[in-house]
């Protein structure tokens, strides 16, 4: 039996309804509106920890029955699907045409496309392939009046009307419920390889700088600290070098290009006096991609943060984070300035406040931020879950008030309690 209640932080038990069609979903929205109930959209519930606790009672809407493939014109390299489709199913279908959505999504058997969009999930290959906003061509969503509205279209280039797609991506379900999505696709790469480079703290920045100047064009520049490497080796048996830091340089392209890049980067690093190198190509690289995708979310940690900083400050930021209490497992998408840290240590609230303040201070100097993807519910009202407020908060509030004036969707959970 499917559970008929759900828990979102301290909202428990919330009744869960599973609409079987868009019209049933619309009906639920209208009835919620009539009874002044809030609605909490649910996909695979893999990221339900993200955000502040709900501020109003309401019901969970399980959207996993809306999982149909509407149209897959493979030769146009687009697909239109309902948003409840699990990522694994989507990728399997695309693989039959040698295509894919090049977004790394953890727990793909459970994670739905709608949920993936709501949290704007991304992973190691974002450096080469970009993020979801680069792939969503059109959407349908049920709005605050229970109407199904659309924006964008099904063609790869389209500037008719406002691009509401951008607004919905990463909006944590606070503006409406995504029902259908049209995606732009990519061909699967002919070849892939990862080059592993270990390094001590003193040379971390010069290593990143060296790779930045390389003639090669990596798709991934992920950095892991020793704690992360130990965890990966223990949990996944990958036998990664247990160095203080490991840089994973990933390549994807046609075979000659990948082969050339691997040789080239090895030469460049050797010339710069950087050794301790290992290369894994083709299928041998696959488990590592998976680990890099799952690590920040694998078995929910007690505390998980995500920082967005300038790429040139990643090394310093990581070194700073490692010095803090908590023995964080750190992973950085270093080319994009994204640093993820997780810990299961019993930090106190005060310790956590202090360390967040420290990290926030560093991120802020480059206009970056630090948010909490996960922490104990009782801390959420005391910690800056969504980081430091930026100057555009009032405009975000204005958008929310215009598109969801009665606070129907996921009330209280997003930035600034939107």
């Amino acid at each position: 039996m499917e559970p008929t209640v759900c828990q979102i932080d301290d909202l428990f038990p919330a009744p869960v309804i599973r609409p079987e069609s868009v019209s049933e979903l619309s009906e639920q929205i209208r009835s919620a509106l009539a009874s002044s109930q809030a609605v909490y959209p649910l996909g695979g519930q893999t990221m339900l920890d993200v955000g502040l606790p709900p501020t109003r009672p309401g019901m969970g809407l399980d959207l996993r029955s809306l999982d149909q493939v509407i149209d897959y014109p493979a030769r146009d390299m687009t697909i239109t699907v309902q948003a409840g489709i699990p990522l694994a199913n989507l990728q399997q279908l695309l693989a039959t045409e040698n295509q894919r959505l090049p977004i790394d999504v953890p727990l793909p058997d459970r994670a739905t496309l709608g949920g993936t969009l709501a949290v704007n999930m991304s992973g190691p290959r974002r450096y080469g392939f970009g993020t979801l906003r680069d792939y969503v061509l059109g959407i349908r969503a049920v709005n605050d009046q229970g109407q199904e509205i659309k924006a964008g279209g099904r063609v790869v280039k389209n500037v008719a009307g406002y691009d509401l797609c951008k607004l919905y991506i990463g909006s944590l379900g606070t503006l409406g419920i995504l029902t259908q999505v049209t995606l732009k696709l990519k061909p699967r790469s002919e070849e892939q390889a990862v080059v592993l480079v270990s390094c001590g703290p003193a040379r971390l920045e010069s290593l990143l700088e060296e790779v930045h100047r390389s003639r090669t064009r990596p798709m991934c520049l992920d950095l892991l600290n020793r704690a992360a490497l130990l965890y990966i080796n223990q949990q996944q048996g990958l036998r990664l070098p247990e160095a203080p830091w490991l840089l994973v340089i990933g390549f994807e392209d046609n075979r000659p290009t990948v082969e050339w890049q691997v040789q080239q980067i090895l030469q460049e690093l050797c010339a710069a006096g950087i050794a301790a190198i290992e290369t894994r190509t083709a299928l041998a690289a696959e488990p590592l991609w998976q680990v890099l995708t799952e690590l920040p979310y694998h078995r929910p940690a007690r505390l998980t943060f995500k920082a967005n900083v300038l790429p040139r400050t990643v090394a310093a930021f990581c070194l700073q984070a490692e010095e803090l209490p908590g023995q964080f497992l750190l992973q950085a998408h270093s080319g994009d300035g994204i640093v993820l840290g997780r810990t299961d240590k019993d930090l106190t609230l005060e310790q956590t406040q202090t360390l967040l303040n420290n990290l926030q201070g560093s991120a802020w100097t480059g206009q970056g931020n630090v948010i909490l993807l996960r922490c104990p519910t009782e801390w959420k009202r005391k910690l800056p879950v969504w980081g430091a407020g930026r100057g555009d908060g009032w405009l975000m509030r204005a958008v929310k008030e215009k598109l969801d004036p009665r606070g129907l969707f996921n009330p209280g959970r997003f930035v600034d309690g939107l």
């Binding site: 014109p73 030769r75 146009d76 687009t78 991304s122 970009g130 906003r133 009046q145 199904e148 509205i149 659309k150 924006a151 279209g153 099904r154 063609v155 790869v156 280039k157 389209n158 500037v159 008719a160 009307g161 406002y162 691009d163 509401l164 797609c165 951008k166 607004l167 991506i169 990463g170 061909p187 002919e190 700088e209 930045h212 090669t216 064009r217 392209d253 046609n254 075979r255 000659p256 890049q261 995500k306 967005n308 900083v309 300038l310 790429p311 040139r312 994009d336 994204i338 206009q367 931020n369 969504w386 980081g387 930026r390 555009d392 405009l395 975000m396 958008v399 008030e401 215009k402 930035v415």
Partner: protein, 478 residues
């Protein structure tokens, strides 16, 4: 405007920007009466040319106090009337805000003021091995601010994406004069992607004064191929097969027979004048893999009955080929005194169908139509040739344009891939969107531009749920 308050408004604006940065004489205003869409014209009452965000803020505040509409303008190269001053008012031309403020190749961004010309930025970055990827054909004149407003594309969008994929943040003056920074140099800022939704809003949300843009490393090398085909069908099948084979070329551009004649007369590249269509097919990236891709593309073209596949032998030849493509519109003057270009999009596989439709519609209205377009994206640019002195021809061109765009909608596409809705395509919005869809968009606009004083009468039809000013200010140029 009432004369007295008008004089007062002009005085106050002059105080803000200075005498040299304010235009009111009819001859000066003539330049600003339309953009690249010349079918409708209307002069603004006054043009101001601010040099700073602070001046823009002051101008906007004065406009509000005087209850006068205003709108931003870049270089005026837009093609759908996006900067047509409907109902007159104050035009804020941003061309004097042209500083490149900062470049960080390590972090892959640059900060530019809105009036920086697209190509200047790429030229500026050249020595460091970087460029700004979106490259509309007007890139020698159009501004980044204008690109932001229209979400411009260009020939290289197939691989590199359109403007929105390259904008990280904006400094934005809201229509009430408040300044906000959305996004910035860091990615993944918490909260709504306001930057993403402002891009392409065609000036109806406010005025972008500064942009954080992504910069892209230059490709190490190119292979530029010219495929010569007897028929348009063979050329379009080649496009589908290239993409189907998993190759994403940097560009895939098609020129049909009529446009080839004009381009050849202008640039003497050596195009075969009897070909049904030619394809410019370019792969770029690291030298190591390009020959493999070029060989596969050549084989695919041959399989689709290409008469000939030529390789650009030198960088000079490649640049000449691109000059022919990017300046094709300029060469059209050799075919007819006036032209009107359309910007429809269809799924790539529907290209043969839509090109046949275009031919049929042209014949029906006795209008010659040339085609040069971004074939890889399915983004067509039929060029309708006419003489604007003949009102009958003008009417036929408008009817034919309309039918072409309707055919695009029927084929599952859109009426604009990169030019925007502006005033030209407002009437198509109800065909693409339901009243509920449009109402959501108007609600969103009201968060930014509640009084609709900035760029009024754009993008949305007057009828329906929202109250829009009338079109009284629009004057046909016929």
């Amino acid at each position: 405007m009432v004369n007295q308050s008008a004089a007062n408004l002009v005085d106050r604006l002059r105080t803000i920007v200075g005498r040299d940065a304010l235009l009111t004489s009819p001859s000066d205003l003539l330049v600003y009466e339309c953009d690249g869409y010349t079918i409708e014209k209307n002069k603004p009452d006054v043009v101001v040319l601010p040099t700073s965000t602070d001046q823009v803020v002051q101008i906007v505040k004065v406009c509000n106090e005087c209850a006068v509409p205003f709108l931003p303008r870049g270089a005026g190269t837009s093609l759908a009337g996006g900067c047509l001053p409907v109902g007159g008012g104050v035009m804020i031309a941003l061309t004097r805000m042209k500083r490149i403020v900062e470049v960080s190749t390590r972090d892959r961004y640059a900060v530019v003021e809105a009036g920086v010309v697209n190509l200047w930025l790429s030229n500026h970055l050249k020595a460091q091995g970087f460029h700004y990827a979106p490259d509309p054909s007007s890139q020698g004149a159009c501004t980044i601010g204008g690109n932001v407003a229209t979400n411009s594309g260009g020939p290289h969008t197939l691989k590199y994406g359109v403007t929105v994929n390259h904008i990280l943040g904006l400094e934005f003056v809201l229509p009430d004069g408040r300044v906000v920074q959305t996004g910035g140099p860091c990615q993944d800022n918490p909260g709504y992607d306001l930057t993403g939704v402002i891009v392409g809003s065609e000036g109806t949300f406010g005025i972008a004064t500064k942009a954080w843009v992504r910069i892209t490393r230059n490709p190490e090398a190119y292979r530029t191929l010219l495929g010569v085909f007897e028929t348009v069908d063979d050329a379009t099948n080649t496009i589908s097969d290239i993409i189907g084979a998993g190759i994403i070329p940097g560009a895939l551009e098609m020129l049909d027979q009529l446009i080839l004649q004009a381009v050849e007369a202008a640039f003497h590249f050596g195009f075969p004048l009897d070909a049904g269509a030619v394809l410019i097919m370019e792969v770029d990236g690291l030298e190591a893999g390009l020959d493999a891709d070029a060989e596969r593309i050549t084989a695919i073209a041959r399989r689709n009955k290409a008469r000939e596949v030529r390789h650009a032998a030198s960088d000079a030849e490649r640049l000449l080929l691109w000059k022919c493509r990017k300046q094709a519109f300029g060469a059209v003057g050799r075919l007819a005194p006036s032209y009107c270009t359309q910007d429809g999009v269809v799924p790539r596989t529907k290209l043969p169908h839509i090109l046949r439709e275009i031919q049929r519609i042209g014949a029906q209205h006795q209008i010659r139509i040339a085609n040069v377009f971004h074939a890889g994206d399915g983004n067509i640019h039929p060029i309708l040739l006419f003489d604007e002195r003949d009102p009958d021809q003008v009417q036929r061109v408008l009817r034919a344009s309309h039918q072409i765009l309707e055919a695009c909608i029927r084929a599952g596409g859109s009426v604009t891939g990169e030019h925007g809705i502006g005033v030209e395509k407002i009437d198509f919005m109800p065909q693409l969107f339901t009243p509920e869809d449009l109402n959501m968009m108007v609600r969103l606009r009201s968060a930014f531009n509640p009084e609709n004083r900035c760029s009024p009468a754009k993008m949305f039809p007057t009828a329906g749920a929202c109250i829009e000013p009338s079109k009284a200010g629009r004057r046909a140029a016929l």
